[in-house]
Symmetry: C2
Subunit: 235 residues, 2 copies
């Protein structure tokens, strides 16, 4: 976008535009999903892209990411972490745009994701069946996926993808999907329970056509206490 006649902001030196883009992950029955938005403007009109937008001058980068997420997908109060900043020269065909990429983790059951806001079309895609993406968003998404895969094993962020109360089977399934390999049930349970960061509840799952499993809850306090004592989470 060229400076228009009514352009009000003037600087001595040229400045790149600054945006944020967010890779939102969620877990469905058997896949890791990503939220994408169909563009209604050129360039890449009609193509799918990551939610995101310009950083305002009166908000931090984190705030910008949260605001865009809220505006474009309705998601609020979810796990959000900065990923990497992309500044290649021709990322955007219009002009120089530097984008600070974030990734976010959502529990699908707990959040009503608006399928469409801002007159845009938003939808979930499996990370294994992605459409062509606008800009360099395929790169960003791949980096976010890589980061999630690496981080989930050493920090208890996987819980962000599950409802507050979950079964150990759900937790194991989460790791199997993200790490893309099968885990041994007995070893997995042994390891998780031995860390003492999940709390047994007195509830069991409902509406299943077989023996119901016990529900657990992630114990943030216990995790922090253990971490201070030198404990290192690992799966």
């Amino acid at each position: 976008m060229r400076s228009k006649p009514e352009a009000k902001f003037q600087y001595e030196y040229a400045r790149p535009a600054l945006t944020v883009d967010i890779v939102v992950f969620a877990l469905d029955a058997d896949d890791l999903m990503v939220m994408l938005i169909q563009r209604d403007l050129e360039p890449f009109e009609g193509q799918w892209a990551l939610p995101g937008g310009f950083v305002h001058l009166d908000e931090t980068l984190d705030d910008a990411a949260r605001r865009e997420l809220q505006e474009e997908t309705g998601l609020q109060g979810i796990f959000l972490e900065q990923l990497y900043t992309y500044g290649d020269l021709n990322r955007d065909p219009r002009e120089r745009v530097v984008t600070v990429a974030y990734y976010a983790l959502v529990n699908l059951e707990g959040h009503n994701v608006q399928a469409s806001t801002d007159a845009r079309n938003a939808a979930w895609f499996s990370v294994n069946e992605l459409p062509d993406l606008a800009f360099d968003h395929a790169n960003i998404l791949a980096a976010a996926h890589e980061r999630l895969r690496g981080k989930v094993r050493y920090q208890p962020i996987g819980f962000e993808l599950l409802p507050e109360k979950f079964t150990l089977r759900q937790l194991q399934h989460l790791y199997e999907v993200i790490l893309d390999r099968e885990l041994d049930k007995r070893n997995f349970r042994k390891k998780v329970l031995s860390m003492e960061i999940v709390q047994e509840t007195d509830e069991i799952e409902k509406d299943v056509a077989h023996r119901a499993a016990r529900l657990y809850r992630f114990d943030q306090k216990a995790y922090e206490r253990l971490t201070e004592q030198g404990f290192h989470f690992e799966i």
Copy 2:
């Protein structure tokens, strides 16, 4: 800095300024060192700060970091990696400035660091005896230190801080300084040699007043080969 009358670049919406800052690490006899630059302009005139500067419109972020490093410290061709992007509202008292922070690793022996360039005063400081820093640079430096401590154990980046040929004692010392704990000599050597990513040379160290140690070299090719086979570096 307010827009001056001669400001030539106009935009419809306000844009933050975009800079890069670099935390350059090196290893001296017994400390991890950081390169700092004494500011010769307000704000924070006279105070120490990280090397860095504005991102030009015709260069990528990595290029900007390399250029600033070269201009301000004379360093070239060194290990450089993006760290995090800082965008708090009042980082800079003049106006909104977003900075993409990098960290770099240098081998002190192999590089002549110009003590002073750009009419600025550059110097090495031990990470344990830092002066007050300008802006939020103390934060950035702490984050870089943390990243280095975490990363050095799982990726063979420590070698970047050593000369091409080094003794196992030097390598062990590097880890002891960065991780801030003593390591067992026999176990360390066993582990390093068993990974088969360091190559024995037929040289030994010189000018030492005791038995001279054998020199080794990091074998990048072997490392890549092993990595493809699923090997994971760890110290």
